[in-house]
Symmetry: C2
Subunit: 704 residues, 2 copies
């Protein structure tokens, strides 16, 4: 997720836009079998194997992976990106340390690139048309890595071409948008060359954050269909979700020249930053500044849409007992430039994990109970494209067979603590893993014990526990949880928030996100990378090898309770005024809790004696499929891919069920009996049916 200040250089129509400056927030997606050991249908997690894997996950090998992965820029669909796909394929087909099978299927997807011939340009133009100042068109070459031909110049992907020029007091609305990252948001206020990379982890003055400005995810031309060559495609001119006007990102050193020369009244305090001047709202430049007052800002954007081939790489370890149950583990491969942190820190971990497991596999000492599928997704930076097309192509199969999806994109933002996001059923397995792994650099302390000091909540069920974040659409887990209803998680190591307020690691999506940057500033020694590899690896093994799936579905009860209480507290009166009762929702939540508790006891009972494998399979199917019961493809018709009634985007202010929250906030100011209030009732019914359906799935399977 990305939070950037936006400097609109050109005047606009609305009260705010008319002032010639916009400060806003955009949410943008960031980025032939080996010998089989003797098989038993009761095969369970082998703690010795788990211990072996933990021991063999090697920090120095992760470092070497990262060096190779980030050696060159590997923008989606570029030759280097495809070369890395081949590298992964080769590793996963290695006779000593590879997997059972690996493939690199390709999709034909719509990407957006700046023009080589006509670089995008931002300039201040004098009254006579002479260029008084030009923003940098590339970042400063500070380490010799920012100058190469493969370093894509800063741009806003999918922003349309155009060359708007400001007209003072024009009443035609904003004609273009400039985006920059303020030192106040990314550098804890520091901005001088001496205080920034390569002298520190901070963003240099010339650093520019690239990104995709497409509103949805997946290939823009093939919503709900895999982007195969023969697939039906929308007309690019009619696609929705692209920015309406030319947009260009610039560095804060250039933003300073533009912003600190503006005239007009001061911007609100919340809009002020660390550029060392009072931010004015314009319109126009001040007379005593660097430019004549009647100068204008000219923006030339020459981005082009192109159909490109982008590969996913998939590798599988076939399950010994239940090969038709999949545990997926994935990360994207494409980066904006060298992408050492984003995404190569995750891919370096992925490769080390697959090496260790592959070696055990090839030696014949281990084969998981269930199948493990490793994935390296393409074109994530443009909008989770590779992973979304994959879910579209194999929807049915994945829906019926996938136990869980583990995503490790950026594995290390910083080296202070573990940070995990996921749906409630995965909480317990992440806790189990984190409790048995030492926290790097803190002898004796487990990752769990360290984690709970940074992120925690008090649970009605367990008391104080580390808090899991919920899953938005920031990485490739989005199509798995929102479109397929598969229990998903994202795992990383991250900051000590008491030490920095940086929105994200400072060189994010710039040409300064390099191997040296990671090696020197982010995780010297790679112990945090190793910690993430061990945590994700332990979670993976527990999911693939445990006889009983370690998905604690009853942990959903707490979420439902909290959502319900928020609805009662913050919406109850309003709903009563419109004679809408939360009673049926209360009953549904109680039914869920009752069914989940009873199932929990059933599991414990089964675990005592040696259960029949079929009984376990039936039980595991209930656990695996619970998440699916929360999907309703008709719940949010306007929200592409979002069908999970608990985790769809919430725009309403109340922290409750998204459909209810959003419908209420829309209905709030409409009259009694309006269509908006009918939608509130529809959303309530959709929710009740989903929760009752979830309870029915957890109840004894032969109950009527």
């Amino acid at each position: 997720m990305q939070w950037v200040k936006v400097l609109g250089g050109l005047v606009g129509a609305s009260a705010l836009l008319g002032l010639g400056i916009i400060l806003g927030h955009f949410a943008i997606p960031k980025g032939a079998d080996a010998p089989a050991p003797s098989v038993s249908v009761s095969q369970d997690l082998d703690l010795e194997i788990l211990e072996t894997v933990m021991k063999q996950l090697d920090a120095s090998k992760i470092r070497e992976n990262l060096r190779e992965l980030s050696r060159e820029p590997h923008l989606a669909s570029s030759p280097r990106d495809e070369a890395l796909a081949q590298l992964l394929l080769q590793r996963w087909r290695d006779p000593e340390s590879g997997l059972d099978a690996a493939e690199a299927p390709t999709y034909e997807v719509l990407l957006s690139f700046p023009s080589r011939e006509q670089p995008n340009r931002v300039a201040v133009v004098g009254p006579t048309g002479t260029i008084l100042f030009s923003c940098r068109q590339s970042e400063q070459n500070l380490t010799g890595e920012q100058g190469g031909p493969d370093v894509v110049p800063p741009y806003a992907a999918y922003a349309p071409p155009g060359t708007p020029q400001a007209v003072n007091a024009a009443k035609h609305g904003v004609a273009g948008v400039l985006v920059y990252t303020d030192p106040a948001d990314i550098n804890d206020g520091h901005s001088s060359a001496s205080q920034t990379f390569p002298n520190s982890w901070r963003l240099p003055p010339s650093g520019v954050e690239r990104g995709s400005y497409y509103e949805y995810f997946g290939d823009p031309l093939t919503p709900y269909l895999p982007a195969n060559p023969s697939s039906f495609r929308l007309n690019p001119d009619t696609v929705s979700g692209f920015p309406p006007i030319p947009t260009q990102p610039i560095g804060f050193e250039d933003a300073k020249i533009l912003l600190c020369n503006l005239q007009g009244t001061s911007a609100p305090a919340a809009w002020q930053g660390a550029l060392g001047c009072d931010y004015k709202l314009g319109p126009g430049f001040r007379a005593d500044g660097d430019f004549p007052a009647d100068s204008q800002v000219n923006v030339s954007v020459h981005n082009r849409l192109e159909l490109r081939n982008s590969s996913n790489v998939l590798g599988i370890i076939r399950g010994a007992v239940e090969p038709d149950r999949y545990v997926l583990y994935g990360n994207h491969r494409d980066s904006w430039v060298h992408g050492a942190v984003d995404p190569s820190s995750g891919t370096a971990v992925l490769l080390e994990l697959s090496r260790v497991l592959g070696t055990l596999l090839k030696k014949g000492t281990w084969r998981p109970r269930r199948s493990i599928v490793f994935a390296s997704w393409g074109a994530e930076e443009f909008g989770l494209i590779g992973s979304t097309e994959f879910t579209e192509e194999f929807f049915s199969k994945l829906r019926e067979r996938t136990v869980a999806y583990i995503n490790v994109d950026i594995s290390v933002f910083a080296n202070a603590t573990l940070r995990a996001q996921g749906t409630p059923p995965v909480q317990s397995v992440i806790f189990s893993a984190a409790k048995q792994i030492p926290a790097p650099g803190l002898d004796g302390l487990s990752i769990y014990d360290n984690w709970i000091q940074y992120f925690n909540r008090s649970s009605t069920e367990y008391g104080l526990v580390p808090s899991l974040g919920s899953l938005g659409a920031g990485s490739d887990y989005a199509p798995f949880i929102h479109f397929l209803g598969i229990s998903s998680m994202d795992i990383a190591y991250t900051y000590d928030r008491s030490k920095t307020s940086a929105r994200i690691y400072p060189t994010y999506h710039t040409a300064f996100d390099t191997f040296g940057y990671v090696d020197k500033f982010v995780d010297p020694g790679f112990s945090s990378h190793q910690a993430v590899a061990r945590t994700a690896g332990s979670v993976l093994l527990r999911l693939s090898d445990s006889l009983f799936l370690p998905l604690n579905v009853s942990d959903y009860g707490e979420t439902l309770r909290n959502f319900l209480q928020a609805a009662q507290r913050d919406l109850g009166v309003l709903l009563e005024q419109h004679s809408i009762s939360l009673g049926p929702l209360v009953t549904a939540v109680e039914k869920f809790e009752g069914a989940a508790a009873a199932l929990g006891q059933h599991v414990s009972a089964l675990q005592k004696d040696t259960p029949d494998p079929l009984q376990v399979r039936m039980l595991n199917d209930q656990l695996m499929l619970l998440e699916r019961t929360f999907l309703n493809p008709r719940a949010f018709p306007e929200e592409r891919y979002y069908s999970h009634v608990l985790w769809a985007p919430r725009t309403g202010s109340v922290a409750t069920f998204p459909g209810l929250a959003n419908a209420c906030s829309r209905a709030m100011n409409t009259s009694l009996g309006s269509a908006a209030w009918a939608e509130v009732q529809r959303q309530l019914s959709i929710l009740v049916v989903a929760l009752e359906g979830a309870a029915a799935t957890l109840r004894p399977v032969a109950d009527l």
Copy 2:
């Protein structure tokens, strides 16, 4: 399905309607555990048990069931309908012959009834307003059963109230519609009292066919949501799918008075019937007829919409080995009047089958491998309401666990031959059953051998075989196949088409569909009822008890081939002209065939040795879930509930994939590059993705 001639008594605007007569076709939906035997995870179909069941299914008991079920009229939600629900509940809870558990959940649904106070009326009114002639308001009481207070007068359910009166040459469009069934369509031309019931099985002159005129199915106020008391409901005034104008059915004796007195030019030959006069098109009456030429027809409809409680009755026999796999067997309970044939002939069979299985269960001699769920649906005649609400309420659970749905609505239309409809995977199990059961009254001949003489096709795979019909929306299987994607079938005994051209049994939906009618004319001795009970019972046992599911998925290959060849033959040129290639579809069909064939070999191999139960379960999951892979909730947004890309309604004339056929027929006369042609391409892609997904589900489960 119903084919009726419609006599619009009132003039209209359009070329045809303006002539004052409409002849059209409407499609209207016709409507504490027993001791367990020792359990083995390899439990397979027991042929001795099957033989015992076949022997114990008793024709005389079916006759007694029918006598009781059809003793009184039992219109949906009437006291007698609810009393029968209690009767079923009592049978299924019987300690000697009942099931493991039974319940009668209720939905609150919108039904439509005529007014007791203001009966619907059709009359001829003279110029001065005097009534010259009135149609009967009830059928003639020929057997003492047509007179009771519970005999609902003839009406068109969901037709709006109103009292339109013809105005000659009015240019305001048709104001009302009269419907009747012509003796040519239902009585092989015979119409006199002496030639009709009670003197033969034919429709008496006063007989009137009732029916629902609602366009969709399910409760009209709660699409996609179960009709629970708290569920969100649409405003009845804004519901779509109800007839726009007053409509009333009449008997052919009354239709004759109206039709044979019309003046004007003769109707086309195809519109002529057996009323003994030349059918004229009007407008108005002839001067030399029974009425003054300036007489008018007055229709008063006083139907009312009412929210009513309607019960389903559900009973379960819990599976011994795989209780979470369900074989569903159902029929509706509600009738228009006594409903001896429709639906009680099916319910009588259902009760006999559940008695025989329940007795074996309670004795402890048998328990099925999988769970068997018996269902008695409510309010089917109004639009498959009980079954649709059930699928809406338990969507997730049923989708994940249901092996197949067996529907036996009218079990005996006539006693000539078996007639089966279903999706390809059920063909083989119906054949297996039919080959081992003797055809009633034809010693030595099996039901299969008799069947193939009446309905057959030449299969590329098997040569000459009985032909299965495809499933429309004529009974409660519709929500299971179209909305849930569950392999479904409908089984009955029916006519010798060489002996009658009757559209359906003549007393269909009239007050003459009584026990005596069945006992005397339809199936004296009830041997055809017994034959259906044995066939459906054998299919049920094979599905519930076979270790390997007897669903032959490769039989889908033939359907796909036929659809593909029709597309190539009849649409190929047209598509080429618009540069749309069928190549990807050809490839997808080939992939399906290849995967299905390979899976078949895998099954045979497994069947040779004694396979691990988990392996069988994984294989059966592939077979069970194949049908689901053909669902796409976004394929037909305008067709409520229809999401099966192979069996959605086809309006296009080419007998191929419905989405493709319909899109082509719409695009046919539009210009190159129109939205309609884009839709053709979208439908092709949806189809290709579904078939590729189906193939992926059949391929080895650990293939990438």
